[in-house]
Amino acid sequence: MAQPQMRKPVEYFLDNKKFLHPKLAANYGNWKYHDRPRPGVLHHVSNTGDEVWTVRAGTQRQMDVHTIRLLCDIADQYAEGRVRFTIRSNIEYIVSDEKKVAPLIEALEKNGFPVGGTGNSVSMVAHTQGWLHCDIPGTDASGVVKSMMDALFEDFKKEEMPNRVRLSTSCCEINCGGQADIAVIIQHTKPPKINHDLVANVCERPAVVARCPVAAIRPALVNGKPSLEVDEKKCVCCGACYPPCPPMQINDPEHSKLAIWVGGKNSNARSKPSFHKLVAAGLPNNPPRWPEVNAIVKKILDTYKADARPWERMADWIERIGWPRFFEKTGLPFTKYMIDDWRGSRYNLNASNHVRF
């Protein structure tokens, strides 16, 4: 049978040289220092004396082509046609003339793109896929991010936090959003509901059994059909079985709750990188604006802003004041669910008489 002629892909990962702003290419690896003339603007000086200004603006990440073209129009008209994106989906315009900065900022803000996200601001939330595109989401991502950033809009535009603040959201416990100063993550509270009619046809049962972190899943015959059963006393409701076996439905409109974690940090500055820690759970999955989650995020941020010293990240601040005072100051209850019992948990217990009064 004649096959249609298919195009063979060209396998090659390109370098970035042709996309660099000419001043970035000319001073590659030769920068001397930078400062921030105002929030949202970086000013870099090279050893040759060359200077560039970068204007950073927030975007919605999930962008329609009209928005991207608008951002390009601004780049062509007010900047120099070269842009880059940060890991948090902010767009950066690079210009070689200080005079272009103010009109560029004006054009961006006039078109609804807030300028900020630099230094000790609250930058854009690390954003996952959610209901828009993911196959296993417990909640949405774009809507959560939009409602959070609406609430934190001024904190994005100003540099008034003690140090930078990085946020993330994740629509399941896999935590695609990653470690952050404040992370909002789905926390399922009930074991999966199994559709036994489908398991045998859809799921590779040994692989599903192997996927469980607490060995709570075992093969079983249910109504004469090969299926799987869950030891619900062992189950930690993580949802790891759901991706390889969709008939093990973990998402539940009522019982998939949201949890808040704080003090994650990837940077090596001062303290070593750290994981975020659980400080609140049981929050309702409440679209379209998740007000209960936003209220706690705001409360934590306000407390941090008022109490932390300059340059203390969330984790540094809590390290200094101690966890009891974190809970006291934020008004969040410390519960038994926060005492770790996973492997390595003893290292998270207080093996000393260091107690703050």
Binding site: V10, F19, K32, H66, R84
Partner: protein
């Protein structure tokens, strides 16, 4: 003109407020595309019922085994079994690798838009958590022609499934004075070495590389990468008296003591009268005024970047630059999240041969992972299972005290190979001397 919008009372509430709205963007696309009209209906249904309705499947492009994320609707009419939102019944995503540092010219972005307006939904995420440009929303039929045009532009597809994945690198040498190696070069060389492992998934599970130019780790490499390349330097910190004095004139002694000296994690900084600054080779100092200096003991410094972040330009990374290699970062499943741990404390990254050695190390690690990891096991989980020493022996690296926070604190170890091990280390030291 597209068909009429479905009512979306919940999504409509996400059009208010100052942050740019993705809903407004989707509605703009829906003016011309029935596809997006139904996508909005699909999403509103999720908001109403608080559940997701996409399932995976198998969609790909000719020649590759991965890189397309297939999505088929599960919102079906109960009687007919037909999709309720039929124009958005298929909503696949193409993962495309961005240039290192995510730099673009507008002509390239506009061309992306034209292609995606023609073949897809018109929705592009810049960028996904994987680091990819996410061309979101395409029918099965249009995946191949869209890919052909994107590939013709010079862009290649990213990874998905049990494969080497799309990597990320920071802005780095292109615009950052803290950059300790050529992040884009390392990124490009490594990815071009692993194209086959990216496009034809055949590993136990995913394997990610990330490249950060310094310890600030803007790419979150230590947390997210199976192999993290994080820039550092071996010699003394660079200092600039002019910028040091300028910083001090603006910020003063209180900030210098509270924000810089007291926050050094290894107490490597001291304020001294300039005449009393030690003269040893590992000491550097920056003048803060005509009589006083900030003294840095570079043997105590761990290159955390804090003082450099505060006094940018006055202080900076040294000249003998390279990277620390850490292995085993990953998210929660299955054993709980792990951060990468040091397997090479310092690797020089200056010459072409240095970068070739980095690629060689990466190949060794991926080969070991391919041979030894269990199905669906990440590198960090494999190391947790077999122990770091077995991993090091497997890839031919010597143990080093920089790999641990402290030596073991329990006696449950057989040490009957001790004498041979000490002899081996001494012989190696002697040979190197």
């Amino acid at each position: 003109m597209a068909k009429q919008l479905h009512p979306t009372p919940m999504l409509d509430q996400l059009e208010s407020g100052p942050w740019p709205s993705f809903v407004t963007g989707l509605k703009r696309l829906a003016k011309d595309k029935d596809y997006v009209v139904d996508l909005l209906g699909h999403l509103e249904h999720s908001y109403e019922t608080r559940k997701g309705y996409w399932k995976g499947g198998t969609v790909g492009v000719f020649g590759y085994g991965g890189g397309v994320i297939p999505r088929f609707t599960e919102i079906k009419d109960e009687k007919t079994g037909q999709p309720v939102f039929k124009d958005a019944a298929e909503f696949h995503t193409l993962r495309i690798m961005p240039p290192p540092g995510m730099h673009y010219d507008t002509a390239t972005l506009r061309k992306f838009c034209d292609i995606w307006e023609k073949y897809g939904s018109g929705l592009i995420a810049l960028h996904g958590q994987s680091g990819d440009i996410m061309f979101q929303g395409c029918t099965t039929e249009n995946v191949q022609p869209a890919w052909d045009e994107i590939n013709e532009m010079g862009f290649d597809m990213g990874g998905a499934g049990p494969a080497v994945r799309t990597a990320m690198s920071c802005v780095g040498a292109a615009r950052c004075e803290q950059s300790c190696y050529d992040e884009a070069k390392a990124h490009q060389k490594i990815i071009n070495n692993f194209l086959d492992d990216i496009h034809r998934p055949a590993l136990p599970y995913k394997f990610k590389f990330k490249f950060s130019g310094c310890g600030n780790d803007c790419m979150n490499a230590i947390q997210r990468a199976d192999m993290a390349v994080i820039g550092t330097w071996r010699d003394n910190m660079k200092t600039d008296d002019e910028l040091g004095k300028k910083w001090f004139a603006k910020h003063g002694m209180n900030e210098l003591i509270n924000d810089v000296v007291n926050m050094c994690p290894t107490r490597a900084l001291q304020v001294k009268d300039s005449k009393d600054v030690r003269k040893d080779a590992h000491i550097s100092a920056v003048a803060i005024n005509d009589t006083q200096s900030l003294e840095i003991d570079n043997k105590d410094c761990v290159r955390c970047m804090h003082c450099i972040n505060v006094m940018t330009g006055a202080l900076g990374p040294g000249k003998d630059k390279g990277a620390t290699i850490l292995v085993g970062g990953h998210g929660h499943l299955k054993i709980g999240a792990t951060l990468g741990t040091v397997v090479v404390p310092f690797m020089e990254l200056k010459t072409e041969e240095d970068y070739d050695k980095l690629v060689e190390l990466a190949q060794n690690i991926v080969d070991f992972f391919a041979e030894n990891a269990l199905e669906h096991e990440r590198t960090g989980e494999m190391i947790e299972r077999i122990g770091l020493v077995n991993f090091l022996e497997g890839i031919g690296l010597d143990p080093d005290a920089n790999m641990v926070n402290c030596p073991r604190s329990n006696p449950y170890i057989r040490t009957d190979g001790w004498d041979e091990e000490v002899a081996r280390i001494n012989a190696k030291k002697k040979a190197a001397a």
